[in-house]
Symmetry: C2
DNA sequence: CGCCGCATGTAATTAGTTACATGATTGT
DNA sequence: ACAATCATGTAACTAATTACATGCGGCG
């Protein structure tokens, strides 16, 4: 299960609570691995029980107390070993593309709307990643080794968004040409 | 569950057996949705029970008999309705990128190998999709509407592979620069 | 004779989603 | 008063993976 390893990866240089991890999985790491808070809290308990993580209660004033987790020596070793193992290439699943296989005059307008949502989403992601890049990864050559790996992942995310956005323009044009001519603009 | 709808989509113009569907999910449709034969056979039984598919036993000589499935009227309607609904954007999961977050001099050579495997895989995919495109989607403007949707999906697959391959070159160069200088080539 | 392709499944387990729950504090 | 953010969970369910099973025909 890679979720466990994604969590350990997020804990490489910070000690974080489940809540903080959940937010991390919504942003940076989240492009490559999604997880709900329910999954994360459970994984944290499992990992602690296996001795790969250790926890510490942090009482807080004005906020609920939290439990922060950090890697143990065993955790670091397990993570290192995992990286050296083989990984199967989890192919992606995307129902929007399946929907495209069903294109017709009746659903073209709807697909165009879904596509517009995706464009918006990808555009926001791209802007975010470009900001992160400008701030923290401007000169990749002068980064410490591990940060260079993160830079490469970030770069993959950027390229991916760019490609999707470019494709979406082509797709939009083709969809527009399929929508019946009545009042093709603003079809609910 | 989109698997059910992916299966129905594959049955839009052909009546197929579970085995044939499994192969289809390994090639064309498979870029957007992966499924094992166990999943597919189960889904087929479920869909038939719901009245969305109908089956027919086909005895064969020299081969085991098979059961082919086709869409019912209800199945077509259900599929049409599904396309018009909203779909959440199933974010992708890829442990190779998680591994990149763990880059070090110790694992750079290994990651480079994994990357090479991916490159090979993506290269084969790309060649396959380009062949399909050249054979069946050379002039997208003159295709019937539904085929244009499939063309767009295919195009997304092509662009995606191209992007990954281009990224992989950059990544490979950076990884190479991280591998310790002893005998950096062909480190097992 | 043993392996590969065809064809279809069962069973057990793991992973992930959805719905619901609690309770404090800060902002409108 | 009401919603939002912080913080952590349980329970029920659906989806996916992994392991195992069966049997025929053709190929080397």
């Amino acid at each position: 299960m890679a979720l466990n390893h994604a969590i350990m990866t997020a804990l490489l240089d910070d000690r974080l609570s489940g809540y903080e991890l959940t937010k991390a999985f919504d942003t940076s790491l989240g492009f490559f691995w999604k997880a709900s808070h329910q999954q994360i809290y459970k994984a944290l308990r499992d990992l602690e029980q296996q001795g790969l993580l250790e926890s510490e209660d942090v009482p807080q004033a004005g906020k609920p107390d939290k439990v922060i987790y950090g890697l143990t020596e065993g955790g670091r070793e397990a993570l290192d070993a995992w990286v050296l193992g083989d990984s199967k290439a989890t192919e992606s699943k995307d129902d929007m593309f399946v929907k495209f296989y069903n294109l017709s005059a009746d659903n073209a307008a709807h697909l165009r709307e879904e596509l517009a949502q995706r464009r918006q989403h990808d555009g926001e992601r791209l802007a975010l990643y470009r900001r992160i890049r400008a701030r923290h990864y401007a000169q990749p050559e002068s980064l410490p080794v591990r940060r260079r790996g993160i830079y490469l992942a970030l770069l993959a995310g950027i390229r991916h968004c760019e490609t999707r956005l470019a494709w979406a323009e082509e797709a939009d044009a083709l969809l527009a040409s399929v929508i019946p001519e009545r009042q093709s603009a603003s079809a609910r």
